[in-house]
Symmetry: C2
Subunit: 478 residues, 2 copies
């Protein structure tokens, strides 16, 4: 038996089906290779089946031994071979260079995420269409909820529910195995497309009671979902979408404890964050259990302030969505979203995409997936390519208020990316490096063209086309 490095090894065991195995049975396994041991929790998968999943991070032979309070599951042993990772498998994403990300194998990862909150609750036809769209759209991260969603444009019942039915309600101590099999399948399919799954564990948009469980039920649910999904290398944890709209039921210390539970049940230390609703309600992302900053804020020119406030990578997941619905968070133009994305990038941060065009059947990408109708996504794909051609460590913002307070710009080493946006200078020389020779390219962020202007000495003003939506890229010539 073998599994590739950062793949999912699964030990399957048989044990009791009686009682409530979700509550009654404790199971874990210790995975060992040489001096390395990793303790991975296991879970009940229904019908007397138990599983322990494990993501090996080193090639070679691994052995494991289970521990359980049930004899049939205790002391089971096995071995497997961890082979080299296959093409496209770079391991989990980690924080790197303080403000940026990278895969564990050292490959850069620049998040270009989109949002389909409830896509996995829409039935196979639409879910498969979403995957097909994601296959070519150019995004490498997806924000998605575990729970189904009740909100404007989101009134359809899901096919699966996370908990077992109990009379007219739910038995929050028993998980629905079909639900989780389905969820895992969709998560795995994202992985196969090279898309990180930013798993949202709680959200307030609920009519089933999943947002208002007792805290002990929340904790148990968290342990269960994290145990099931953590061995997928491409999983990120988001404690919530808009946690601040749930503070009445789950005060701040509960969110802190959620972080703790996730951390304790995830042996791989996947990325962890949380997402605010109100722009004034940023979570204190400086807490040590938070790996990176997620904010919802339209005011992207604050990117440098967020970086400084928390000292971690910043993703403005929701800088408003391209669309035309009645709510302001979902009706900016494609040009404006592309503009905001560029500002985030040039100021050393990252942003998130979403699309919210009115649809005759209420199939809005931001929540249900489907197809993309907008005009921003190809421009963001183009921007991703620009960023991937830049410094492997990521772009650091240029400091100071002049001239970089009004022109979003950053760089690293001999590389500068200066995004002019609503500014349209005919010449530019402000703030450029005093020494060296630079190849200058004009990037048209909307028309997706790159035109080389020539090689310049840094301080000589460079003539530009003098129209909006342009960026200047400078790369030092040896």
């Amino acid at each position: 038996m073998s599994v590739e490095k950062w793949g999912v090894f699964e030990a399957v065991l048989t044990g009791p089906a009686a009682g409530n195995p979700f509550v009654d049975v404790q199971l874990s396994a210790q995975f060992s290779q040489g001096a390395t041991t990793v303790n991975a929790p296991g879970f009940y998968d229904g019908d007397g089946t138990y599983k322990v999943r494990f993501m090996p991070s080193a090639e070679g032979e691994w052995s494991y031994k289970t521990r359980s309070n049930v004899d049939a599951l205790d002391g089971q042993q096995g071995r497997f071979e961890c082979t080299a990772s296959m093409a496209g498998n770079h391991g989990p994403v980690r924080v790197r260079h303080q403000y940026h990300f990278g895969y564990e194998d050292g490959t850069s990862f620049f998040p270009f995420g989109t949002t389909c909150y409830a896509w996995a609750h829409q039935g196979d036809a639409l879910e498969e269409q979403t995957l097909e769209t994601l296959g070519t759209a150019g995004f490498n991260k997806l924000r998605m909820c575990v729970f189904p969603k009740d909100y404007i444009f989101n009134k359809n019942e899901p096919e699966y529910y996370p908990f077992a039915k109990s009379g007219d309600g739910w038995d929050f101590s028993r998980y629905d195995i079909d639900f989780f099999h389905h969820l895992e399948k969709r998560v795995a399919e994202l992985g196969a497309l090279g898309i990180e799954a930013d798993i949202i564990l709680f959200h307030p948009y609920d009519r089933w009671g999943f947002a208002k469980m007792a805290l002990e039920e929340d904790y148990a649910y968290l342990r269960y979902v994290v145990t099931r999904l953590a061995a997928h290398r491409h999983v990120w944890w988001s404690m919530a979408n808009e946690y601040d709209f749930m503070l009445e039921d789950k005060p701040m210390e509960v969110w802190d404890h959620f972080f703790q539970i996730v951390q304790e049940n995830d042996p791989y230390d996947h990325l962890r964050s949380i997402h605010n609703g109100n722009v004034t309600m940023n979570y204190d992302h400086s807490k040590s259990s938070v790996t990176h900053v997620c904010v919802q804020n339209w005011d992207v020119k604050k990117m440098r302030e967020w970086r400084e406030a928390y000292g971690k990578p910043v993703i403005d997941d929701e800088c408003e969505y391209e669309g035309n619905i009645l709510r302001n968070w979902g009706n900016i133009t494609a040009r404006e979203l592309v503009h905001r994305y560029w500002i985030c990038i040039a100021y050393g941060g990252y942003a998130g995409h979403g699309e919210t065009y009115e649809h005759p059947e209420d199939i809005l990408w931001w929540s249900k997936g489907g197809v993309l109708y907008g005009e921003s996504w190809p421009r963001l794909k183009f921007l991703r390519q620009i960023v991937e051609e830049g410094p492997v460590e990521g772009i650091e913002p240029f400091a100071g208020s002049f001239p970089w307070g009004r022109t979003a710009a950053g760089g690293r080493g001999g590389y500068s990316l200066i995004y002019f946006g609503e500014h349209q200078p005919k010449h530019w020389g402000n703030g450029l490096p005093p020494e060296g020779r630079y190849r200058a390219d004009v990037v048209d962020t909307w028309n997706m063209t790159v035109k080389t202007l020539g090689v310049f000495e840094g301080q000589n003003p460079i003539e530009l086309p003098g129209r909006p939506g342009l960026a200047l890229r400078l790369r030092m010539v040896e």
Copy 2:
């Protein structure tokens, strides 16, 4: 002899020409009508000529009597008849309804200003062209400096200087009468066009020494210029352009004292303010001598914060200029300037225009005047018309963060003006008044069209074109 209400009466006297009359001679006159008396300072106008100017604010007969430390100028008496003001003369502009302006006769005044800092130092041909442009451009206020300007694109010598020459330098105790005659002529010509003259008394862009006089010389200059110009009903006082770039020579208490001197020498209490350079260096406009707030700030979505901070009318004089020069304050697109102007207006404030396109002879409107090359000015003229069709008391911003934190909107009584900008909803109902019937118009801020959609009950969503740059105007139907 007669003069219209709010016109300029001028008493001309003959006195000593020897010594330094600017320093040696004190002159004023007391103007009386019934129980009203106004003390107006006088000034030396060269060649033994002295003048006392007075702006009467009530019809009927006025008498005056001079006072001086020189016998020939002391105790002179006269009378004149103040007639009704002529068409187009509404008196000086005052603060009204706390956050807005109005002429003294009760007519609304909504400032739509532009900027030609050094236009009066460019020679007759260009100055007359500027006046011709202003005659149709639609602006009703102009920011202009007393002193000439030395700065990028501004290296030409002026024809006149404010002080008498003294060897290679200046005698700061003697004013150049030709300079002031010329300045007054240009100021009067603005008045004839119905344009308020926002007179900038100091600025840092100087190679002649006018920005670095001794404080007593500053004070004497201030008294002289205010005495000469104050009787023009359309004069506003701006202590400085970018006062914070002069703090080394003129610390904060000096600026406070400048306000005091202006106030003491202006019997008509014209509007007084001051303009910052750095966005973090707003003067404390809550001081009682400051009548209204001027800021330089690109971040116009802060308009409501400035209103709240100072409790006075706010003009963002410099929300960056339409143009294409290298400096960021002078290279935003016409669309962006129109966008920022609309945001200021809908949030209950005002903005300022300027134009800075590169020019083969360095004739940039923002400093020298000439002709307008841009595309924003006709859209601002259109916006002025929209505002003048609105509530006579001015537009108050709608309160609260939702939905008005992201959509600039305000109104008064049964009137609402909702500017969507980068937002493009297909339907809008958020935040509309719950009661009443409203005639809805869609305003295209760029194409300058107004299209009536019909009459709606406030809370029913209104269908909109779903493209950017639109505003919705709602007016209650009786």
